[in-house]
Amino acid sequence: MDELDLLKKNWTKGEEGFKSFSNTDIYTMLHKKSSSIVKTLFYISIAEFAFWILVNTLPYFLSETYREKLVTSYENPLFLGLSVLSIVVILVFIYLLFKAYKSISITDNAKKLMESIFRTRKVIKYYVIFNLVMIFISIPLSLYFEFQQNIEFHDQVAAMNSAQTLMMLAVTVVITGVLLLIFWLFYRLIYGILLRRLNKNYDELKKLEV
C-alpha cells in the first residue's frame, strides 16, 4: 500500500486529540491582532510615506534660513517643477498602494495571492527608488543653487583650482553614493527578512510550470 494511503486511512482518527475551542475562545481570537505579512507590509508602507514626507518638509519648519532659501528657489521653474512633481508622485503612489492592498484577497488561489503581495511590495519599492533618485538629483542641484545664490560660496568655488574643484565634486559623489547604498541595504534587509518564506514558496510554485 502507498505510504500516503496509510496516512489517509488514519488521517481523521487523529482529530480526537485536538483541543476543541469553545465559541468564547473563538470570539476572543477574532478580536486579536493579526500578525500577517500583509499587515507588516502595510505598516512599513505607512512608515515609508511618513518618513519621506518628514524628510522633505521638516527642514522647512525647523530652519528659517532653509525656509528663506526655499522660497527664493521656488522662483526657479526647474525647482518648482520638481517640487510639484514630487507631490503628484506621492499622491499617485498612495493611490497605487491603496489599489494594490485592495487586490490582496485571501480567497484567491495561493499563487495569485502571493503575486498580489509582491505587487504591493513593488509599489513600495518604486516609491523608495523614486525618493532615492530625487536625493541623487537634488544634491548636485542644491549645490548649483548655492553656487548661483550664495555669493560667498560662489567666490570660494571661483577661487578654487581645478584639483580642488574636482576634489569637491568627488566628495559630493562619494557622500551621495554612500547614503544611497545605506538606504538600499536597509531595504534589502527589511524586505529580505519579511518575504523570505514567501519568496521560497512562490519559487516552488513557479518551478512547477517549467
Partner: protein
C-alpha cells in the same frame, strides 16, 4: 447585523474547527505555534467572511483561507525550535526501528511529512482531505497536470525520507 454575522461565523467555525487544527498540525510542531497559527487563520477567516457568499461550502472555503494563511501570510516562524525537536524525535524513532507496527509506521510518516516544504505539505494536506486534482490545482493556482506531477514527486520524496 454585525453581531449576527459574528455569531453565525463563530458557530460555523466552531463546528468545522478541525479543518483548521489539521492545517496547524501539518505546519507547526509545538502547541504554542499550533495555537498561534490557529488564531491567525481565525482572524483571516473572519476578515474574509463578509465576502463569503455561501455559493461554496463553508468548509471548502476554509481550506483555501487556512492554507493561504499557513503558506503565505503567516509570519512567526519557529524554525529553530522545529529542527531541535526533529532531531530528538528522529533519534528516538531510529532506536525503535524494528518495531514494525502500523502505529510506528504512522509516526514515521508524520515525521516525514513534516520534513516536506510548505507547498508539498499543502498538496499532501489536500490529498489526505480527499480533494481531487481539480480542487488541488484551483487552490494552489497550478495546472491539474502539474498538481499530479508534483504529487507523484512528493510521494517519491516521502519514500526516500522513509527509506534512505
Amino acid at each position: 447585523m454585525n453581531k449576527e454575522l459574528e455569531h453565525s461565523f463563530v458557530e460555523q467555525l466552531q463546528k468545522h474547527q478541525n479543518i483548521v487544527h489539521k492545517v496547524c498540525r501539518l505546519y507547526t510542531n509545538n502547541a504554542d505555534a499550533h495555537n498561534d497559527l490557529f488564531q491567525e487563520i481565525t482572524i483571516q477567516l473572519w476578515r474574509a467572511y463578509p465576502k463569503f457568499r455561501g455559493d461554496a461550502k463553508f468548509s471548502t472555503w476554509m481550506y483555501r483561507v487556512g492554507l493561504n494563511t499557513a503558506i503565505t501570510l503567516y509570519r512567526k516562524s519557529k524554525r529553530r525550535i522545529r529542527t531541535q525537536e526533529f532531531d530528538a524525535v528522529e533519534f528516538k524513532i531510529k532506536a525503535e526501528e524494528y518495531d514494525d507496527t502500523e502505529e510506528q509506521q504512522l509516526k514515521l510518516l508524520y515525521q516525514a511529512v513534516h520534513q516536506l516544504n510548505d507547498i508539498e505539505k499543502a498538496l499532501v494536506f489536500l490529498y489526505l482531505e480527499d480533494k481531487d486534482y481539480r480542487e488541488i490545482s484551483a487552490t494552489l493556482g497550478i495546472s491539474e497536470v502539474n498538481a499530479r506531477v508534483k504529487m507523484n514527486r512528493v510521494k517519491k520524496k516521502l519514500r526516500t525520507i522513509l527509506n534512505p
